[in-house]
């Protein structure tokens, strides 16, 4: 029983960061039909900022917000520099544009900073644990889940109650109609990028606290998981992205925990991907369907 609970907490902790990233990808997809493969580069931006600041002995209470801010700025910058110019192009073009940005980001860090990994110190309490009813929890897991829950609650509030959130949701269903209702394309899209940057920044802070290091290709692993989570959930569906992220985290941890040892255990990730492939065969549109406004 106790290992089961630990596995669940572990899985939710891992899934939380996927969920935050996937939600950002889904929000951006909603407003402009871009699958943003450069999204996880925001983590890299945060990581290098944290690395530079931590060499100056800056406290994590300052670092974490700084990471979030840097991600927001970087996210909005990508929109201004690149995505604005391909808005309305085919999804294929937009996707490759994001790829180009991802490559460029890798290359720039490599050329101008260093191709090797730079480690720095995380907060002291990260690996501390506490015990409840005979079950041992890591503080970091609990903090990750709590922060994620808080951010998701905030997200729900923004999308339900604020004019900006409603405009984004409306734009996700039918951008033309939203524009006719007075939503301003530039502002809604830039806002969506800022919000996605905020979510990625929170994810980055959580990830970096646990593994404080910066390297050019840091984003790649998270990117794949986040994109997959967003698509599992059904691109453009915000609930779906969160569910997809959590499900992916749980599936990873569960499979690792329950597959027999030996070759099978080593093939955990292969199984996760095989499961994902199977899911798309059964439900090509993902778990949650978004109504499309295309007319015939």
């Amino acid at each position: 029983m106790s290992t089961f609970v630990q596995t669940i907490v572990d899985g939710l902790g891992r899934g939380s960061t996927y969920a935050l990233l996937a939600l950002g990808i889904s929000v951006i997809f909603g407003v402009m039909h871009l699958v943003n493969f450069a999204h996880a580069e925001l983590i890299t931006v945060g990581a290098y900022l944290a690395y530079f600041l931590s060499t100056r002995d800056i406290n994590w209470w300052v670092l974490a917000p700084a990471i979030v801010v840097s991600a927001v700025v970087a996210s909005v910058a990508t929109e201004r520099i690149a995505f604005r110019w391909v808005r309305g192009s085919s999804p294929f073009t937009m996707l490759l544009t994001s790829f180009a940005l991802e490559r460029l980001s890798h290359a720039l860090w490599q050329v101008f900073v260093s191709p090797t990994k730079k480690s720095f110190a995380g907060p002291a309490w990260v690996f501390d644990t506490f015990e409840v009813g005979g079950i041992r929890f890591e503080w970091m897991d609990v903090a990750t889940i709590a922060v994620t829950a808080l951010v998701l609650a905030l997200t729900a509030f923004v999308f339900r109650r604020t004019l900006f959130g409603i405009a984004v949701r409306a734009a996700s269903e039918d951008f033309d109609a939203a524009r006719l209702m007075g939503a301003r394309a530039n502002r809604v899209i830039a806002g969506a990028f800022a919000f996605a940057g905020f979510l990625a920044g929170v994810a980055a802070a959580l990830i970096l606290m646990r593994s404080p290091s910066a390297e050019p290709a840091l984003g790649s692993d998270y990117l794949i998981k986040a994109v997959v989570a967003a698509i599992i959930g059904g691109l453009g569906s915000f609930t779906g992205a969160v569910a997809g992220g959590l499900a992916l985290g749980l599936a990873e941890v569960m499979l690792r925990g329950y597959l027999p040892e030996g070759v099978w255990e080593r093939l955990t990730d292969a199984f996760v991907f095989a499961l994902i492939a199977a899911l798309f065969i059964v439900r090509p549109q993902g778990l949650f369907t978004v109504r499309s406004a295309e007319r015939v």
Binding site: R103, V111, D269, F273, I276, A277, P284
Partner: protein
């Protein structure tokens, strides 16, 4: 005449594939010879890399270029083939030492280069064909995600199944090929396959489905098969590249098949222009050479990772400035085709008329149809008699809204029925139900005694219902002629019992012969409407379903359209069901009119009866308020 024209066309298609492939191959040979004539073995390596890249990118072009579905998964099959070659070709004596626990008795297998290549490519292709079923079914973004999952799954298996693969370290001591002959041959084969595939039925249908996924089934294309065929052909090419590459360098490891490498190859496809073979070829050359140049400049100036910077910048610039690639839709093969059609038309025009009835239409596009009459061939009565189109009690609900609420109508063979009604009456929804895009909750659609209620769109089109779309769905990147030819091709294949219609005749009738080699998307609005009608007619349908054929046309054009629709329908022996808002048009053209409001038939009869009908007037103009005196 038609059959000889057909085989001449086939010969021409093969001819231009051969010419285009030969031209690209010759350019490569000359460039490689010049480049390697000075400088040492390093230069030879670049040539090898270029040749392998050509094979892979041609493979990618066949699938990604023709279907428009992005794939990250192709490298997985290059990897499978490479490991297949390694496992079967490494000498048994070596395997005892390096792979002691190898399963399936592979330890004793020792094939020659040809045997190992064939086994590996066939194995990878069969696996690809199975996975391809899922990919071709899913389509779109889901297919892309499946390919991504396949890439990672294969990568993980290779990295972790150490008994077979030795994990991240990879396999070495694969017997090496000593000359580049096989690579050159593979490159030539790849160029030929890519060019020829584009001319096959599967290739042309795949491109049609890429351009419009809804219009393709509407002319009888089952998008699954062309997609799957393209996938299998492309996987085979990529597997061939993988199998040869491992024998050039003598070893293989997972690092050669990562997503990063995949993106480099995708960049080659996209930078030149993925939609055409010429574009893919140019892109491969530009990126391979640029990458090497960046590496050398980086080495001399001690800038690390310059090639990656080059790749990112090149891809970004192309996407922002020329999203269609450097070449866009420019293509040697397509250019040869246009030349051929032009010269053939000039030949046909000089000694006299081609089909006897239509040379004038070239000069007078819009009105010409009126004069063409029933000149030749199969007239009104030749309809093969599959019976009437009968729609009964159809109910469709969108959420709580009843879009159709027991709608019914009947169109007899050769008859022209107008379908009118205010906005939101359910006219287009009724069309969508009839051709299978929208599933009805209840009710039936019958063509003669055949029940079409549950058939998918491509089956319904093959049964003989062809439609046009309210907001125009042409195969935009294809020529005007190809738009019609695709439907004629589908008709020959799927409706062999009907007499096929000559593409040139239909183009002439629509007044489109002069613009036949232009891209469909570049036509003006009226011509696009006429082209859509011609495309639908080319299917030799039993019934033409026309959704607002005069929308956006001037009054004069609408009037001309009355005769044009009539002649075209009579020409192919089809009945017509037509939706239009222009009452003058509908009244003139229809034998019978059905008026729809709120998903129900509120009146039907001859045009005169409908004009006097109170219910129709009310539906259009609103009820006369009781308080207002008449």
């Amino acid at each position: 005449m038609p059959s000889s024209g057909l085989s001449a066309e086939r010969a021409e298609r093969l001819g231009r594939s051969a010419i285009a492939s030969g031209a690209m191959f010759a350019v490569t040979v000359v460039a490689a010879t010049v480049y390697t004539s000075s400088g040492g073995a390093a230069r030879d390596l670049l040539v090898q890399e270029l040749l392998v890249n050509i094979v892979i990118v041609m493979g990618l072009q066949v699938f990604i270029g023709s279907t428009g579905i992005l794939s990250f998964g192709h490298l997985a099959f290059a990897q499978i083939a490479a490991y297949g070659v390694a496992l079967t070709a490494i000498p048994a004596a070596t395997k005892v030492g390096t792979l002691p626990d190898i399963p399936f008795g592979l330890g004793d297998v020792e094939l020659g280069p040809v045997g190992a290549t064939v086994v590996a490519v066939v194995a990878a292709t069969i696996l690809g064909a199975v996975i391809g079923v899922a990919i071709a079914r899913a389509g779109g973004l889901a297919a892309t995600m499946i390919t991504l999952a396949v890439l990672f799954a294969v990568d993980q298996v290779v990295k972790n199944w150490q008994e077979m693969t030795r994990g991240a370290g990879g396999l070495s001591s694969v017997p090496r090929l000593t000359t580049n002959t096989w690579l050159w041959l593979a490159a030539l084969v790849a160029l030929l396959v890519a060019h020829v595939f584009r001319e096959t039925r599967a290739g042309r249908f795949a491109v049609a489905a890429r351009d419009d996924e809804i219009a393709a089934p509407a002319i009888g294309i089952n998008v699954f098969w062309p997609r799957w065929t393209a996938w299998v052909v492309s996987v085979a090419l990529v597997a061939l590249a993988g199998a040869l590459r491992v024998q050039m360098i003598g070893s293989t490891n997972p690092k050669q098949y990562t997503l990063d490498v995949g993106i480099l190859l995708l960049a080659m496809l996209v930078v030149g222009g993925m939609r055409t073979v010429s574009g893919a070829f140019v892109g491969t050359a530009v990126i391979t050479i640029g990458n090497e140049a960046a590496r050398q400049i980086g080495d001399t100036h001690e800038i690390e990772r310059l090639p990656e910077l080059f790749l990112g910048v090149a891809l970004l610039i192309v996407m922002l400035l020329r999203p269609g690639g450097l070449l866009g839709d420019a293509d040697i093969a397509a250019w040869l085709q246009r030349r051929w059609h032009r010269s053939r038309r000039r030949e046909a025009a000089s000694p006299g008329a081609l089909a006897g009835d239509e040379p004038a239409s070239d000069e007078a596009p819009a009105r010409s149809a009126a004069s063409s009459g029933t000149g030749s061939g199969w007239g009104a009565d030749s309809g093969s008699g599959s019976g009437a189109l009968v729609v009964r009690d159809v109910v469709v609900r969108f959420g709580g809204f009843r879009a159709l609420d027991g709608a019914a109508l009947r169109v007899r063979p050769g008859e022209i029925v107008g379908l009118i009604g205010p906005n939101g009456a359910g006219k287009t929804t009724l069309f969508n139900v009839v051709n299978g895009l929208v599933a009805e909750e209840s009710g039936t659609v019958m063509l003669g005694d055949r029940d079409l209620s549950h058939d998918p769109p491509h089956r319904i089109a093959r049964a003989g219902l062809a439609r046009t779309f309210q907001n125009l769905r042409l195969f935009g990147t294809q020529s005007v002629r190809e738009n019609v030819a695709l439907a004629a091709l589908a008709a020959r294949r799927y409706r062999p019992e009907r007499v096929t219609v000559e593409v040139d005749d239909l183009l002439a009738q629509a007044g489109l012969l002069a613009v036949a080699e232009r891209r469909a998307a570049t036509l003006d609005y009226g011509n696009q409407r006429r082209l859509e009608l011609a495309r639908a007619a080319a299917l030799s349908p039993e019934f033409l379903l026309l959704d607002e054929p005069t929308s956006g046309m001037s009054n004069a054009e609408s009037l001309a359209m009355v005769d044009h629709v009539r002649t075209t329908a009579r020409h192919v022996g089809a009945g017509v069901l037509v939706i239009d808002h222009d009452l003058a048009f509908v009244t003139r053209i229809s034998d019978h009119i059905v008026a729809l409001a709120e998903g129900r038939v509120i009146a039907e009869g001859t045009p005169d009866e409908i004009a006097d009908d109170h219910a129709v007037a009310e539906a259009y103009l609103g009820r006369r308020d009781a308080s207002t005196p008449p």
